[in-house]
Symmetry: C2
Subunit: 383 residues, 2 copies
Amino acid sequence: MPSETAEDDAKPFREFIGQPVSEVPTPALLIDLDLFERNLATLAGFMRGRKAGFRPHGKAHKCPAIGKMQLVSGAHGICAAKLGEAEVFVHGGITEVLITAEVVGKRKIDRLMRLVAVAPNLTVVVDNERNAVELSEAALAAKRRLKVAIDLNVGQNRAGLDTPQDAVALAQALAKQKGLELVGLQAYAGMNMHVVGFANRRVASLLALERAAATRRAVEKAGFHITLQSVGGTGTYNIDPDFEGVTEIQPGSYIFMDAHYRSIGGVDSEAFNDFGNSLTVLTTVISHPSAGRAITDGGNKALSTDEGLPQPKDLTGINYHPGGDEYGIIDLKNPNRRLDVGDKVEFIVGHCDTTVNLHNTFWGARKGVVENVWSIDARGRTD
Amino acid sequence: MPSETAEDDAKPFREFIGQPVSEVPTPALLIDLDLFERNLATLAGFMRGRKAGFRPHGKAHKCPAIGKMQLVSGAHGICAAKLGEAEVFVHGGITEVLITAEVVGKRKIDRLMRLVAVAPNLTVVVDNERNAVELSEAALAAKRRLKVAIDLNVGQNRAGLDTPQDAVALAQALAKQKGLELVGLQAYAGMNMHVVGFANRRVASLLALERAAATRRAVEKAGFHITLQSVGGTGTYNIDPDFEGVTEIQPGSYIFMDAHYRSIGGVDSEAFNDFGNSLTVLTTVISHPSAGRAITDGGNKALSTDEGLPQPKDLTGINYHPGGDEYGIIDLKNPNRRLDVGDKVEFIVGHCDTTVNLHNTFWGARKGVVENVWSIDARGRTD
């Protein structure tokens, strides 16, 4: 639903371009553009010349403007977590989209077919024959062939088929559906992204990749041609691309990073610092009623805590915790700087995806000056 | 920032009115209108004839349409958690607004004064002299007197002054600011709302109320006239209104309730069932890859877990947990009904405020049929 007040509030945003970030209304979701661009370049550089490509996951940013920058950096497409998110990307001008969750039910499939009319390469995952029949019927009614990938479970025990036999059976069922074109497999191993320690993570990822490869071999042996094998994310970006049969990885968080990701460790380091923490939330001290505590304007509605607490940047000797949904509480043990009402406190986000989903706007800044404002158009589009 | 795609997607919403809720795109935030209206009436009935009034907290719904229904039910105003939320309410036609967090910094104060031009009774809390001076200067520049209430800490150790002496000192400082009119005190005891057991909750609330009353007496003794003493919420709605000096309560969750609130217990019952669970999230089973698990389309981005898990309605013999941000995982131990791909699973939300903030739209339904669609206009407006 469009918001009239959002319209009213849009105009003033432009006035902040060229201003110091301290002028932006807080809590504000900031992108450090230098770090962000370096993250884009780091992943693109790592992938250059490899057989596999990369299709960044748009659920991390929900913003067509950022999706287009990823395409410019060398990505061959974008992932969308849901149909609603895909609608925003396609309407925003990005047509090479893989929807990474099953699209179920007549009304959603009707929406999907309207989207395919604009974006014929749109691909959707399937793991159920009845769903496949409905997708095919809708595609035939629209005089189209819909691209589908079989969704595999490689250990997360979420959506996706468990065994090679299940996948072969579904491939055979798909072959009877004239409205569908089986292009390949999705084998996202979400449970491996945050395995602590590179060596541990590598072993875990290779197990999942081998499970996917076994399924691919079985499906190919049954006579099917596989051109897509979509796997992995940010945590395994430097493990997955060269594995047998992989055609693309789906990294999302690499552009932003978060406190949780840093803790998993890198190849040669205790912190996973292949990518920089470009995403922060700027808050303002709105109350400092006693010597021991300062209160910010950022609580659960500005900073997610589902994967741990956000971490204050440039502020030590304190404890931070959310003071409910609207406030942050900073216990001032031995702070390295004085905090007065009106002062800013910046936090590295605890979990990028769920924090982004709380905000309407990215404020892109370089060396502390606002350079652009991007609308998080797919915010709330879980449908 | 306005979303072009939100515009595009608005039109189809109307087609769902008169349809069964099962037709609505999921995950969908549903309001059971029978329960919701009963909740409105229950609180209004309890407050009728009492000296204190009620000013429901709009942070729970972020929706001017619902705020107006609360006014019709007898509320004398609405609370807003932040300036951004107040802007949405005022632009939506609600002018009796108390902003319950401090508004700090020149740019926000300028916005505040633009809002006061539309809503002269707008009241804001203060707990800091420097902030008060800035508010006063802006009000004088706008040729207005801004209504302010002193924010008190009555045990939550968040924003608000700790002692009667601090409050008297601030009242005296406010008196020198010609742009301000001190109308009273805010003493919200958020830490008491979820105290388990009515007797325990009553004792805790009376302690906080007495702490606020002592401050009011000290401020009045210092020569100030107090016409506003704003306290309490849903958990103490039947404890606070008759306490000495209280002029209003700030209940938010009573219209919706949630799983967490139910657990606190009522006057004569183990569950707090004074109000019904009118707010649910409808999800769809999008995958059922093996006998033991069904996967829904509702994860952390559709159902908040900051105060505990959502609870499935009409579904027993299962375990539910979020499968990341986009999925729900239902472990089928001994389910009371069969779940197929395409079937719906409805959840009582774990925490209403943070779940509402994840969605763009309320779907109001009566006896399973969609009756209206309300935009959550202040979603994400933590600024």
